[in-house]
Amino acid sequence: MVDENSSHQEISGEEIEDRSELERALALLKPSASSIDRDSFLFLAGRASVETVRPGGQFRQWMWPAATLLSSLAAVVLSVILVTRPQPAAAPVDMRTAKATQVTPGVSVATAEPSSAGETQPASSTATQDQELALAPPSRDEAARELASGTNYPRLRSYVLAYGVNALPDPAPIRAQSPDSLRDEPRTQRELLRALLQDRAAVKTSTHSAG
């Protein structure tokens, strides 16, 4: 038993010695020289170290992706706003409903402007009718005023589309109240007094000349 143990110890000792010798022999073998060119590697390393230190590197890296993301977001938000925004009041009237309401220009204008024509709406008007009225083309007076002032073209167009060109009012009386005629009238007290004095002077000269 003792012999066995000692022989085992001898073997393991021999083995250890063998192993260390093998280790030493293996360490004496050298790996083949590196195929990387040392100079070019050090050049690349120098360049890489400068790249990491360069200021604003992170900013430059993320600048374009961030700009793209922001512009895309803006486009999406604007699209949503465009789709979901309420319809404007002066939107063009649907031609089918306009034709249905158009019988004759005079009659249709009368129904469209109850206050001017002195008529009242029927009591059985529903919410849909109210909505139609809200979107209805302008009344004759409004159209005449807009025609005279030359503003609010879309509303005037909806009027023409609804009632036809013949339904447009005569522009002559409107021109009498046009801003051009109003421009001649005095606006301030001083101008009013001056106009009165001028009138009085004119009357005096006419009476003198007559006398």
Partner: protein, 169 residues
Amino acid sequence: MSRISPELIARLFDRHAAALELFAAQWIPAPADVVQEAFLKLVRQGRVPDRPAAWLYRVVRNGAISAARRDARRQRNEQTAIGLSRLRLEADGENPLDAELAARALEALPGEKREVVVARIWGGLTFEEIAEFADISSSEAHRRYEAALAVLRKSLGVTWLTKTAATKR
């Protein structure tokens, strides 16, 4: 962690580049790119890791395994160089071991044992450092190393004995 200096990079390169190529050659036939990329990664990192050698071995190991997976299909189609060892070792005149035979014996080892032997003998890493990159305990690294040496001793047995006998004479 301190900042990386050019001197440190040059020193690490001189000390470990060849051994790292031998280490990466276990997985890929052309390991230079992976090794160079590992060094450049260290430079870009800007800070020296606690154990630079272990860090380099870990990066090279991961890079080589990834490259091997990537090129697996291509390698299957290529004609493999039969009879030529991928691990290149060179012997000086006094060494009792034949370099080519030792390289073949090394290649015959299982991968997990071979990487420990290469990192320990030619990389000069401690068992703690080996344990770090191989994700094992240091005792497991030691156990693998001992087992690998035992296998190598058996596989190189005849050559080993004859060469040592000749040297002793």
